[in-house]
């Protein structure tokens, strides 16, 4: 077991700097505000991707229900924004002014109790972390303590995603139903719809994203991260060595859920609404695909994967409105078939060796400074 003494090795440092350069400098300077806002939307999925790298790539826990946590985070934020947009003055046309419009349409005459805390901004911020975190803890505890894992766990998370969608759609008086929560306007009195606000929100999001990248990298480098990898490779050996496998799994799953929730909350801010279409099975699987395309072993890969797949989605659908889904499908199949480790695999297999050789020949030093490749079995 080699634990890297440095926080980033050289490869990762290059990746970190390149990504920072792209997101902080190149994109804001080169894109107009509409495209920048789209990039911001793509990046919200990168949060989910980073979580999946930890929980799936390292921990070996495939969750097909990340949309649930993305949605919970997004809904928490949307509830706060909706309450702010539903002031008595804005809603005087309704039979009960002061409650969100969809409640009025559904004959509710007062705000449901679970909406009331969302009048407060600090509580909302807490809820964005805590609600999905606690929910993930409950699911994780219920499953992992009973040693449910692998495919069964994936199926159960998928079922939870389906249940969640049906619940939200069915309880439209409380949740906005299939329309979702729309027409969000201000955050703590600050209009989030202006170009200026979109610009600032983009940077807030990128800063948060780097916060998550660093947090994920930190988790990965600690002993905990190594145990996760060990668990993925040989769960029983870890258990027989005296570790509580379930607790580590629960931790990884909760961390992934919280990352996803932060992404969801940012999504609501960037896009201006939240709906059950991000909660269900299909979006959850899409999120796994972004991670797979980026490379499930690579934190940066998850970010690149989310960016590129969504970019392809937008540009293909703009150019070929009727055929783009086929193009996208072909892209997925090609990537998974030809490059099972995704984009980061391509980088490591084809680009990295060239760079290494270049550097090695210049310094004429053997490249033994490299640590064990990411994700290699920890034995």
């Amino acid at each position: 077991m080699i634990i890297n003494s440095r926080f980033f090795n050289r490869t990762e440092l290059i990746g970190f700097v390149a990504l920072a350069l792209l997101l902080f400098v190149i994109l804001p300077l080169s894109l107009d505000i509409f495209r920048l806002n789209l990039v911001a939307k793509y990046l919200t999925y990168a949060f989910v991707g980073i979580g999946l790298v930890l929980c799936w790539g390292y921990g070996g826990i495939l969750s097909l229900g990340q949309g649930v946590f993305f949605g919970l985070g997004g809904y928490c934020m949307a509830m706060y924004l909706k309450l702010e947009a539903s002031s008595v003055a804005n809603t005087k046309i309704q039979s009960t002014p002061g409650i969100p419009d969809f409640m009025d349409w559904n004959q509710l005459t007062q705000l449901p109790f679970f909406w009331k805390p969302f009048h407060s901004f600090p509580i909302t911020l807490l809820a964005i972390i805590l609600v999905p975190g606690i929910f993930a803890f409950i699911i994780g505890a219920a499953m992992f303590k009973r040693r449910v894992g692998g495919v069964y766990f994936a199926i159960i998370t998928q079922a939870i995603a389906a249940i969640m969608t049906i619940l939200i759609v069915g309880q439209q008086g409380y949740t906005g139903g299939i329309n979702g929560i729309t027409d969000l306007r201000t955050l703590h009195g600050w209009d989030i719809r202006t170009d200026h606000a979109k610009f600032i929100l983009y940077f807030v999001e990128v800063v948060l994203l780097f916060g998550c990248i660093i947090a994920a990298q930190f988790i990965r480098l600690t002993k905990l991260g190594r145990i996760l990898v060990a668990m993925r490779e040989q769960e029983d050996r870890v258990r027989f060595s005296g570790y509580s496998v379930a607790n580590f799994k629960i931790f990884a799953f909760c961390a992934a859920a919280i990352f996803a929730a932060i992404g969801g909350a940012m999504f609501t801010l960037e896009v201006g609404f939240m709906s059950p279409s991000f909660v269900g099975i299909v979006p959850s699987i899409e999120m796994v695909i972004y991670t797979a395309v980026g490379g499930r072993m690579s934190i940066f890969g998850a970010v690149w994967g989310s960016l590129l797949v969504n970019f392809a989605k937008t540009s293909l659908s703009e150019s070929f409105p009727q055929l783009w889904l086929f193009g996208l499908g072909a892209l997925f199949i090609a990537v998974v078939l030809a490059f099972p480790n995704g984009l980061s695999g391509i980088w490591q297999d084809y680009v990295q060796p060239h760079i290494d050789r270049l550097l090695a020949s210049r310094k004429s030093k053997p490249g033994n400074g490299f640590p064990v490749a990411d994700g290699a079995p920890a034995e």
Partner: protein, 420 residues
């Protein structure tokens, strides 16, 4: 039918339309000078929309992929037909219409993203689009923020009115009240069983229906009300309840694929729609295509348009539609409403003498379209359309036979007093 009342008004336009269609192949040969009367761009476009001396760009925003594609394709086709016909007539203020089509992919945020693209990037002078209420709700803030103009074709639940939207379909009261009055009067219906898919449109519509039944129809009452998740396919238990309560009317607002299961199971359970009155506001000719005419024959639908309407406008429209998109296509209520979008926009622009959104919004009330396949329509101050309500009976061949239509245009009332 009633369209015969205003033949003098309608025929010149129809002639123009037919001439326009005949001139289609020759249109590319027309010299630019034929548009010489076009006013200068600087005068008709003061807000930087995509208008040049010869062209104006509009957007088409529907789902052509995903679960809604089956419903929205008809709207896309109708809008393209209308644009082609308008271009054949010489365009709008001397400018040809160019359209940019985007796919909403049956996904509400994608609608919002694409709407923003059409308005911000492409500077579309108008957008024809959306189908579901959810997609409209998603794009509405975008249209209001960037001051765009949306022509929305679907019949919907009402409770909305925006400067930036023209609703070319019916709001709920236009579709419901006249139909209930009709069934009460001609069938003597007193007991109603309300059914619906579980989302905002059926729920709001049934709320209005219940208020009308209980408040305005003498001695009538609702004997049951039930909702099913979208995509639901097991209707046996509710069919049993219907058999027990024996309502005079089954009032069904079931949407999408669920319809197929519902009508097939109804038939299998021995409920004969030629004896049991069933009134629906959610099954157009498009849906019958999936349900099968033999499974729904005898049911009544309350719409504003049926493909079988017997008037010259509609005959020309159906012929042109089939010529462009194939003999097998069917035309439902929403498809016709989508066809109105580009025409109403053209007429409004010409009335306003400008492409500016604010001027169009202000000029819209009072704009009338005499060439509408459904007959005559006019835009109300609340940006909805005055149009007639019609009741048709489904036939085994998948078409509706017109049974009843209101004598006058029905006023749109998106915020009906006493029905909320």
């Amino acid at each position: 039918m009633s369209d015969e009342k205003k033949p003098g008004l309608r025929s010149p336009l129809r002639r123009k339309l037919l001439m326009g269609m005949a001139a289609l192949p020759a249109i590319s040969l027309l010299p630019r000078t034929s548009f010489a009367e076009a006013p200068p761009t600087s005068a008709v476009n003061t807000t930087g929309l995509a208008v040049t001396d010869s062209e104006v760009t509009v957007g088409i925003l529907h789902s052509v992929t995903g679960t809604m594609a089956i419903s929205e394709t008809g709207s896309v086709e109708a809008e393209k037909l209308a644009i082609e016909q308008i271009n054949a007539e010489g365009g709008v203020l001397g400018r040809k219409i160019k359209f940019i089509q985007e796919d909403g992919a049956s996904d509400w945020p994608t609608f919002a993203e694409k709407a923003k693209k059409l308005l911000v990037n492409d500077k579309c002078a108008a957008v024809m689009g959306c189908w579901t209420s959810a997609s409209r709700k998603a794009v509405l803030p975008v249209f209001e923020q960037y001051n765009g103009m949306l022509y929305y074709p679907t019949f919907y639940e009402g409770l909305e009115q925006s400067k930036n939207v023209i609703y070319t379909g019916q709001e709920a009261t236009q579709q419901i009240i006249a139909g209930l009055d009709w069934v009460n009067k001609t069938k003597g219906a007193k007991t109603f069983y309300l059914l619906g898919s579980d989302y905002i449109w059926p729920r709001t519509s049934n709320k209005i229906a219940r208020k009308h039944i209980e408040g305005h129809l003498q001695g009538a009452k609702v004997v049951g009300e039930e909702y099913f998740p979208l995509g639901h396919t097991q209707f046996n238990s509710v069919i049993n309840k219907i058999k027990l309560t024996k309502p005079d009317v089954i009032y069904a607002i079931i949407v999408g694929g669920s319809n197929v299961a519902f009508y097939k199971q109804l038939k299998a359970a021995g409920i004969d729609l030629s004896k049991q009155t069933l009134l629906t506001i959610s099954v157009t000719e498009d849906e019958i295509d999936g349900i099968g005419g033999e499974n729904i024959a005898g049911a009544y639908a309350c719409m504003k348009y049926f493909q079988s309407l017997d008037n010259p406008n509609n005959k020309a429209f159906v012929a042109a539609f089939k010529k462009m998109w194939g003999e097998k296509t069917v035309i439902g209520d929403v498809t016709q409403a989508a066809y109105l979008g580009p025409w109403l926009w053209k007429l409004t622009v010409e009335k306003a003498g400008s492409f500016d959104i604010d001027k169009i919004a202000a000029a819209s009330p009072g704009v009338e379209f005499k060439g509408a396949p459904e007959g005559y329509v006019r835009i109300h101050e609340n940006h909805h359309l005055w149009s007639k309500t019609r009741v048709g009976r489904a036939k085994a061949d998948g078409q509706y036979e017109l049974i009843y239509e209101t004598a006058d245009l029905v006023e749109p009332d998106p915020f009906p007093k006493g029905y909320q």
